[in-house]
Symmetry: C2
Subunit: 556 residues, 2 copies
């Protein structure tokens, strides 16, 4: 039955609005409408149709792209209204037949990506000040309602029929998989007993009760729906601090050349070793000096090195996640002349209030978060010729372990690293802390000390003393130590590593995001492989067959 082990061809996360099959964007002044009209005949894999605005990974790839482009290409947009182009149905959620046909691995990765996209919608509302609201012109069921929950204001059409619902538990024996449970009790603060009721009512809720329980913000009569949506959007647009009279920058298609064991981007080189089961991502320093100011930065557009490199890292991470599941260890390296990076960092730090710089930093933050929640082991190797400086140095604190060569090797100069202010505020983990705050939870002096080192070139001993790297082998030990490390890691159970890493990476406070990735996802992964959901007589498998699922009754 497991047909969608991997799609027939590799998933490609690059797209443009001109190529969308399922979404369209319509912009009027400060308000954009993001309209979902899913083409049921264009699923990402064979075996199912995307009926009733139900989605699969292909639909979400477009949504992800649209959210990104609205931020960068449309500084004038202050409010984004998500709505449906299909009569009477906002969105029916993830396609159930697709889930029933999918491998465990695809289900988990699909949920992770859709969660990241919903988080990016909240990130846009909260930090880009491009506020998302939902114009629910029909029923929002399951993942459809969860998508709406990621927006800041939910308006439901009062047509006697449309409702919001999370029918996963009663209907499918799985959980709402894109943050719904967490968002209703933590974001919308629905009382837990009412949430319990809501999540067990297949047909969902509407009307006054839905408003009273805080499941939606407003019911709007059909005749006034469009006018009221426009009114609300216009009202919210006033509150935004997004600029007026600025042009956006075009996110050009990311260039990528794939060879057998190498993926080449302009600034990122990914090497795949299928025997050792590793992927090595080498990030290259800028080839030219930083622009002198924000005006010059804007002229560079998507070619501005920090933005270009982050887009490539983002694409590479998604590619590896979906298309290379057996490469269990991701190695991060850097190369090139790091001396230029400091100027790029300085420009970003000095102009954090500029809308475009803000977008670039937020995108960097989101991409690094994708690394935080990756289900791969992550190592960084600091070798001669590397450039872990500033924004790239923060990657040393995102990985599970870092190794830095102590001294020279083969007459190549000893590597150095260099921190910038970006590691002390702009780049936060899902737990809300910077990576160095998380790293030094038990050592506030180390955090202060690290801050004092900003801008200084640190050799391996200095980095080790400051607690910034894990190990610093010298040239005699380096090769053996790295080889043994990779062999050992590859010998462990992939599942146990995923669980271990997920638990060690997020000390300290918890947020909506850590709850979704740390708790909700773990429960969902568990349920996704229980016979009651995924077995041959499980609810997910039997959905639509007319046969009732048969459940094992033991409570665990």
């Amino acid at each position: 039955m497991d047909m969608i082990q991997q799609p027939a061809s590799a998933l490609d996360f690059r797209t443009t609005p001109e190529n969308y099959k399922h979404w369209s964007i319509s912009i009027e002044g400060p308000v954009a409408r993001l309209i979902m009209a899913i083409d049921e005949d264009s699923p990402s894999a064979a075996g199912y149709e995307l009926k009733l605005n139900s989605y699969d990974i292909g639909v979400d790839i477009e949504l992800y792209d649209a959210v990104q482009r609205l931020r960068f290409e449309h500084p004038e947009v202050r409010v984004v209204v998500i709505t449906s182009g299909i009569e009477g149905m906002f969105c029916a959620g993830a396609n159930i037949r697709m889930l029933g046909l999918s491998s465990h691995s695809h289900k988990v990765n699909f949920c992770k990506f859709t969660n990241e996209t919903r988080n990016s919608i909240e990130d846009a509302s909260n930090f880009s000040r491009q506020t998302y609201i939902s114009a629910l012109n029909g029923t929002a069921a399951g993942g459809g309602y969860e998508l709406a929950l990621a927006t800041e204001y939910l308006m439901l059409i009062d047509d006697g029929n449309a409702a919001v619902s999370l029918p996963e538990v009663p209907l499918l024996a799985v959980l709402p998989g894109t943050g719904g449970l967490t968002r209703i009790v933590d974001k919308r603060k629905v009382r837990r007993d009412l949430a319990d009721v809501f999540c067990t009512v297949e047909e969902g809720m509407k009307g006054k009760r839905a408003v009273d329980w805080r499941l939606i913000d407003e019911m709007v009569p059909r005749s006034k729906f469009d006018a009221r949506v426009t009114e609300k959007a216009t009202e919210l647009a006033v509150e935004s601090d997004r600029p007026k009279g600025e042009n956006g920058i075009r996110l050009e298609r990311i260039e990528r050349v794939e060879e057998d064991d190498v993926i080449r981007y302009p600034h990122v080189l990914v090497s795949l070793d299928r025997t050792a089961r590793t992927a090595t991502m080498e990030i290259q320093a800028p080839a030219s000096d930083a622009p002198v100011d924000v005006v010059a930065l804007k002229e560079e557009g998507a070619k501005f090195w920090p933005l270009a490199v982050i887009r490539e890292i983002d694409d590479a991470l998604l590619h590896l996640r979906f298309n290379e599941p057996t490469l269990g260890t991701l190695i991060i390296k850097t190369s090139g002349d790091g001396s230029r990076i400091a100027a790029y960092d300085d420009l970003l730090v000095a102009n954090q209030d500029n809308w475009l710089v803000r977008e670039i930093l937020l995108y960097m933050q989101r991409t690094y978060k994708r690394l935080d929640v990756t289900s791969r082991t992550t190592f960084a190797f600091v070798e001669p010729g590397s450039c872990f400086v500033g924004m790239l140095a923060d990657l040393l604190f995102a990985v599970d372990r870092s190794y830095m060569l102590d001294g020279q090797m083969d007459d190549r100069p000893a590597p150095e690293i260099c921190l910038s202010e970006l590691s002390f505020g702009a780049l936060r983990m899902p737990n809300g802390l910077t990576r160095l705050e998380t790293r030094f939870l038990g050592e506030s002096d180390s955090l202060k000390n690290a801050h004092a080192l900003v801008g200084q070139q640190l050799d391996a001993q200095a980095a080790l003393d400051a607690g910034l790297i894990t190990y610093a082998p010298d040239d005699i030990d380096w090769e053996d130590e790295i080889r043994l490390l990779l062999e050992e890691r590859a010998s462990f159970s992939p599942d146990a590593l995923t669980g271990m890493e997920a638990n060690l990476r997020f000390a300290g406070p918890e947020t909506l995001e850590t709850k979704i990735f740390g708790r909700l996802s773990a429960w969902q992964n568990w349920i996704f492989q229980r016979p009651n959901a995924a077995g041959e007589s499980g609810a997910l498998k039997l959905y639509g067959t007319g046969r009732r699922a048969v459940y094992e009754r033991g409570r665990v």
Copy 2:
């Protein structure tokens, strides 16, 4: 292979030190030594031997009992030293052969109980001021080290051999299951990259590095070990506020009579309906007035109604969890004259500084937490003749939903509920909030309003208006509504319900406890059923056979 689906006979959580097979307690002045010398020939089920101080549920039942008794029976004990009675080995952790033979359900329940016991150790250190420390006179591996992590100070003998380790990932393809991952990064604040290293080194760590990384607090030479342990214990004893010159109260054996579908305790009646798959716990009001003061309370000892009833609830919850896994819904009812309860509550509230009252309230809190983390649906039914008053009223906020009859039924008087101060501070959930704070996260006015209602008799409408109950059907609807509710709940997938409830119950902040139960446990449950651990070629199954596990290499 799944032999330990359920032990041959039902597990009984009642024991006394005289019957311990694996532990002994030795008390000198303010310092108790809790000595683990596990009898390898006394496992809880057939098929394995408890070698090298490795434990199973039977060992942990004794530990749980010892921790409880030290609190109540020994007010003079201010420090508890956990140590081993076996040469060179503190504790090897959970018995691996037992885990390999266990059903998924037993593994999960076993981990949950051991986690609760370790949490109760921290609860004793932090709130009973009976501080636990570890005298690691030999290696502490896996669950053995996790037990030590639940104590506040770890001393490791320097004998050239003894180490601390979490070898689960490399050795068994599962996670350390009793909070180890969370406690190293969150409690001991071990740096995450060092934690990653530590958790992949089978043989563990010792010496200066173990101290530098905060894995232990102190290495002590063999020749000085006993003296140093005594010195440290004596030093910590001084800081405790436990009373001098007080006698403890004896925790008499809990009386329990089991019939086919009924379990009778003096104050709790549990009725089992195996067709409807429900267990109904009816808690009975006190039969006599509250004692007039703390002196009189102490004379009542373990018969003091709040303590007696909590002990019975605790035992009943554990019994149902392990011995009745298919009863998926737990219904809580109360009966009797509630007018007496207020006086008990007042006595407890007024004397919270008294060591015994403090113990009773902490025990109540721990027991209610067991309900919070139960993997059963929990409902409360407020019917005529019920007494949801004070400490029992808090149960209304622990359950997933509550139903209160609106008005009379069959000429029996309309039920009322009544809050006491206990719901506003003394009884906290694992997330650190009171149940009403969690319930009203989105409505601070409702919280204030509820506080103003303390001591007032509230009928169903008043309770509904105050947001204190979920539904208030009248006598015409009551029976149908309850019947449909129970039928519907029984028709859902048990796994999906467990996951849903675990996610809805803990809005708001996260703590070590919610991380352990919400996140760590969910990951562990997932891994426990992955083929890499539990399959016929999985590491857990093959341990000790000399055969190497074969892993699926996909990372999920």
